[in-house]
């Protein structure tokens, strides 16, 4: 086997030497044979003749010997490649068009593949037996709706550990952004609060030191030990080995570093790798004293690993049984709460990739669609290139017919054509890598956030690229090859390069319609997403976004009394007001799309079961709240300076809440109570406009507003949270505000700030991503289709010169000719629009859930796309049409 390879390689690399050796060898044989006859007395010329006859045809034998060496296919491949390369170099314009077309198509796919692979396929680094590892999701009916949830209380995790038998590993993991380090050096980073059992899911060794152990991860509070990520170890400690034993501030706690995780270890599948790992019980104990004794704080995820002999269904059944027991412990009072059976409580083992399970985010669903779109773009690009190659094959008919007549086999010819498209595809693939490298980074930053943006050139993407390139070569090569096979040698040689009449190729027409239709589909998609995005952007939220900065203080290393915290909150507002360019500031309790306080449904005398109406969110602000946030008062008044701690307690409700609680009545003047019965009634003094703080779509949310002074008196402590309105762009003020407020902080406490826009961005990301990608790819497809249309019509005009000459000679006007050619372009466009619209109409019902207050079958979008396509068709046909118009009949008829 090995000697075979060496022999072939030598044969290939030393082709000249091998040929000479063969010549020498055969010559030696003939000479010896001749001598044999000469010695027997035959005259030399006759002896030579006999020797040659006994030997057989020398050329034939040489050929056979070459074949025996097993390199002829490589020889002919090299020959084909050289031939193809010469052909491509001879037409640089054609080559550039084809290579760039394929490069765009392949590059778009490679870039999207990087994202989709991460979302759906790639196993987390070091994970043992990915197929047996699952996330746990629960489903149950609550208030008549099915809830799907994967955030658990620690006690639930302990229940599952105790009550299941199907798993050889169960881990709990939570993530928080916490300040790491002290003072000026402190930075907010991702911290993984994980159970010690998580490390058993991975086949990895610590880079340094050790991972923490189950003995250090125990209730009520684990040990304060931390494991650094490899990246954090390098960026923060320069990879120094003496980090072990050093202490590290993480959030409100101080940990001892005991180990460093290996490079690439992410720990939590799907997510951005945390900078630091700490025992989950240690972190949880800093937030809640009784977190392991009740089911209130649902904040962590669970991973399980099935025992090899347990099926997926078996695992789900085991989990469901355990969940039912756990459920009955959470809700022992079956008169007030449904039983597990009634709630149809179910716990499932789901794929490790979130995007494949019930927790698939809108972002990942959009990403899947965009991957599909990228494939369509590649198909359009292929159709285009196939079309151009076909055009070339047609104009090369005589050459091909000549080669067939000279005895080249058809198989050899097809091989040569495929080689040509392989070369083109390879060049396109190379261009694609460059484009993906450049565009992929932008994409991933947009989609996965700055931390997810790495290089594109990983092995899996390269394998994908290779497969895509080969597929492209095959797809684009097939049409020209079939054409060559069908060719009629004698006919082609007899006829001129063009025949008297123009024959339209059915394949080419089909390819062109295919491109046009797909462009329409993509453009409709682009239109729908763009409109969704603009709907999202322009939807009234009930507050201003662009001029708002949100700041919050995190106490650390100090114990603040209630009075001290209230006083610090007031000082924060006062300090914020001293920063130049600030228009207003207010204390706040809930922040839309970030955090919220709920104290249950309001209590109104004579009214029952108000909790059925939904969730009520409490907001408490300074008198300047409405002026700062931009929420309008629709009736009555807002919170004012008069609503001090000692004055009668008042409340402002939003419009939806007013209508829900007092339909057909004015809410102003009504009374309600929040919290237990010892608290006083609140008088409704005003109605505010509706706001959105949880979801951008769906039913209106219930919000009510208290004065922060009265909130402090009734409920205790103010939040160290401030909303600030600036004069200008919020992002220009975040840092100045943060620095100013930091000066007020006691101990190691720290302030962090965000613009409201930042808090909102993740909610709009899916639509922004969809809109950007559909527009980019739709535009690309349109350009490709335009190029395709142009080349087909231009080619048709060139082929029909003779016929057009006859028509003009017979009296056709220039206008007639022009109309004829333009009409041809428009006919293509109309057919494309018709087919594409049908497909888009049909596909609409799958896209609609991804859109935002937007019907998938929007006539405006369809009409706009049709107009664009018609305009592009005219633009593509106009140049060939003008050329056709200028055909000189005498020239046309004389030539050929």
């Amino acid at each position: 086997m090995f000697s075979d390879l060496i022999f072939r390689l030598r044969a290939l690399l030393n082709r000249g030497a091998m040929e000479r050796e063969l010549d020498d060898e055969l010559r030696f044989h003939l000479e010896r044979e001749t001598e044999k006859y000469v010695q027997a007395g035959v005259p030399r010329p006759e002896a030579e003749r006999r020797a040659r006859i006994a030997f057989g045809g020398v050329d034939r034998i040489k050929e056979d010997a070459r074949d025996a060496r097993g390199v002829e296919w490589i020889d002919s491949l090299l020959q084909d490649l050289r031939y193809a390369w010469r052909g491509l170099r001879a037409k640089p314009g054609f080559t550039a068009a084809v290579v760039v077309t394929l490069g765009l198509g392949i590059g778009a796919n490679a870039a999207m593949f990087g994202i989709v692979d991460r979302l759906l396929f790639r196993a987390p680094y070091g994970l043992i037996d990915q197929g047996r590892v699952h996330r746990v999701f629960v489903r149950y009916l609550w208030a008549g709706k099915e809830q799907v949830d994967n955030s658990f209380a620690y006690k639930r995790y302990e229940d599952f550990r105790r009550l299941t038998r199907s798993f050889d590993g169960i881990a709990a993991l939570g993530e928080r952004r916490l300040a790491i380090g002290v003072g000026q050096n402190s930075r907010e980073m991702n911290v993984g609060a994980v159970s010690a059992t998580l490390f058993d899911f991975y086949h990895v060794r610590p880079e340094l030191g050790r991972f923490f152990t189950p003995a250090e991860d125990t209730t009520p509070a684990g040990a304060t030990v931390a494991v650094l990520s490899y990246g954090f170890w390098h960026s923060q400690y320069g990879g120094a080995t003496n980090v072990l034993g050093q202490s590290l501030h993480v959030g409100e706690q101080i940990y001892t570093i005991v180990g460093v995780a290996p490079e690439n270890f992410g720990g939590i599948p799907d997510n951005v790798p945390p900078a630091v790992f700490v025992p989950i019980t240690t972190f949880a104990s800093s937030r809640s004293a009784d977190y392991y004794q009740n089911y209130d704080w649902t904040w962590m995820e669970m991973l399980v690993r099935r025992k090899p002999e347990v099926s997926l269904a078996g695992a789900t059944a085991d989990l469901t049984t355990a969940f039912a027991v756990s459920w009955s412990q959470e809700f022992p009072d079956t008169r007030r709460f449904p039983t597990a059976v009634a709630a149809r409580a179910r716990a499932e083992a789901t794929p490790i990739h979130m995007a494949r399970g019930p927790g698939a985010s809108r972002d990942s669903r959009v990403a899947k669609w965009v991957m599909g779109v990228a494939i369509i773009v590649l198909l359009v690009a292929c159709a285009n290139v196939a079309n151009l190659l076909l055009a070339r094959a047609v104009s090369r008919r005589r050459e091909i017919a000549l080669r067939l007549a000279l005895g080249v086999t058809r198989g050899r010819l097809v091989r040569q054509l495929i080689t040509e498209s392989l070369l083109i595809a390879a060049l396109g693939g190379a261009t694609g890598i460059l484009l993906a490298q450049w565009g992929g980074r932008t994409l991933r930053t947009m989609f996965l956030g700055a931390e997810g943006a790495g290089g594109v050139a990983d092995a899996r993407t390269l394998i994908f690229l290779t497969i895509a390139t080969l597929a492209v070569a095959l797809i684009t090569g097939i049409a020209p090859a079939l054409h060559a096979l069908r060719g009629d040698v004698a006919g082609s040689l007899k006829a001129g390069t063009r025949e008297g009449t123009y024959r339209r190729s059915r394949t080419r027409t089909g390819l062109l319609l295919f491109q046009g239709a797909l462009s329409v589909v993509l453009l409709v998609g682009a239109g729908l997403f763009v409109r969704s995005l603009s709907n999202v952007r322009s939807m009234p939220l009930g507050y201003d976004v662009d001029p708002i900065v949100y700041l919050e203080a995190n106490p650390r290393g100090v114990e603040l009394s209630r009075e001290q915290q209230n006083e610090l909150a007031d000082r924060m507002v006062a300090a914020a007001r001293t920063v130049p360019g600030i228009e207003n500031a207010t204390l706040t309790v809930s922040v839309p799309f970030r955090s919220s306080e709920g104290r249950g449904p309001p209590k109104i005398p004579g009214r029952d079961s108000l909790q059925k109406l939904g969730r009520f969110t409490l907001q408490a602000g300074s008198p300047s709240y409405c002026a700062t946030f931009g929420t309008r008062i629709l009736a009555g008044r807002g919170i004012s300076d008069d609503d001090r701690a000692g004055s009668p307690p008042v409340v402002v409700v939003n419009d939806a809440m007013a209508r829900a609680l007092w339909p057909n009545e004015s809410a102003v003047g009504k009374q309600m109570r929040i919290g237990n019965d010892t608290l006083p009634f609140l008088t409704v003094v005003g109605v505010a406009e509706n706001i959105r703080g949880f979801r951008l779509s769906g039913s209106e949310e219930f919000w009510y507003y208290l004065s922060s002074e009265q909130y402090k008196r009734l409920y205790g402590t103010a939040y160290l949270s401030v909303l600030v309105r600036v004069n200008g762009h919020a992002e220009n003020y975040v840092e100045a505000l943060r620095r100013r407020l930091q000066q007020e902080m006691p101990g190691a406490s720290y302030v962090k700030g965000n613009t409201m826009r930042e808090l909102l961005a993740p909610r709009q990301r899916a639509w922004r991503f969809g809109a950007t990608m559909f527009v980019a790819f739709g535009g690309l497809a349109l350009v490709l289709a335009a190029i395709g249309l142009y080349s087909v019509i231009a080619y048709a005009v060139a082929q029909r010169t003779h016929e057009l000459g006859v028509r003009i000679a017979l009296g056709a006007g220039q206008g007639d000719v022009m109309r004829m050619i333009l009409g041809q372009g428009l006919a293509f466009a109309l057919a494309g629009i018709a087919i594409g619209s049908l497909i888009a109409f049909w596909a609409g019902r799958w896209v609609e859930p991804l859109l935002f207050s937007q019907k998938a079958r929007d006539p405006v979008v369809f009409a706009a796309v049709a107009t664009v396509l018609l305009l592009v068709a005219v633009a593509a046909a106009i140049r060939p049409a003008v050329r056709a118009m200028r055909v000189d009949p005498t020239e046309a008829l004389r030539s050929d």
Binding site: S3, F7, D24, E25, F28, H29, A54, R60, I61, R69
Partner: protein, 109 residues
């Protein structure tokens, strides 16, 4: 001509391996030896020897080296390799079994 036999498919390889089993030879000598030993019964176009030699070399059953011939000219000498010797044994045995079986059938039927 009728007393001469065309070679059955694949037997040329066996004959070459057998001729080389006595020592290294160049192509012409192999051809001569096969002619002589078979008393000119086997009809082999001399040229067809060479593609076969190259094929056997590629398979690693024989190796080739340039050397001086008896009349002091440069000639390419072929030699059995160890793998080639094994191959010769295997093919010889297979051939004998085949011919024996064919002979048996011809006698019985």
């Amino acid at each position: 001509m009728s007393d001469r036999l065309d070679l059955p498919q694949g037997t040329l390889d066996l004959l070459i391996l057998k001729s080389l089993s006595l020592g290294a030879q160049h192509g012409w000598a192999i051809s001569e030896r096969i002619q002589q030993v078979s008393r000119a019964t086997l009809q082999i176009p001399q040229g067809s020897l060479y593609p076969a030699l190259h094929r056997l070399e590629r398979r690693g059953w024989i190796s080739a080296e340039w050397g001086a011939s008896d009349n002091n000219r440069r000639a390419k000498y072929y030699e059995l390799t160890r793998a080639g010797r094994r191959q010769l044994d295997a093919e010889t045995e297979a051939w004998e079994r085949l011919t024996a079986a064919v002979a048996l059938v011809l006698r019985m039927a």
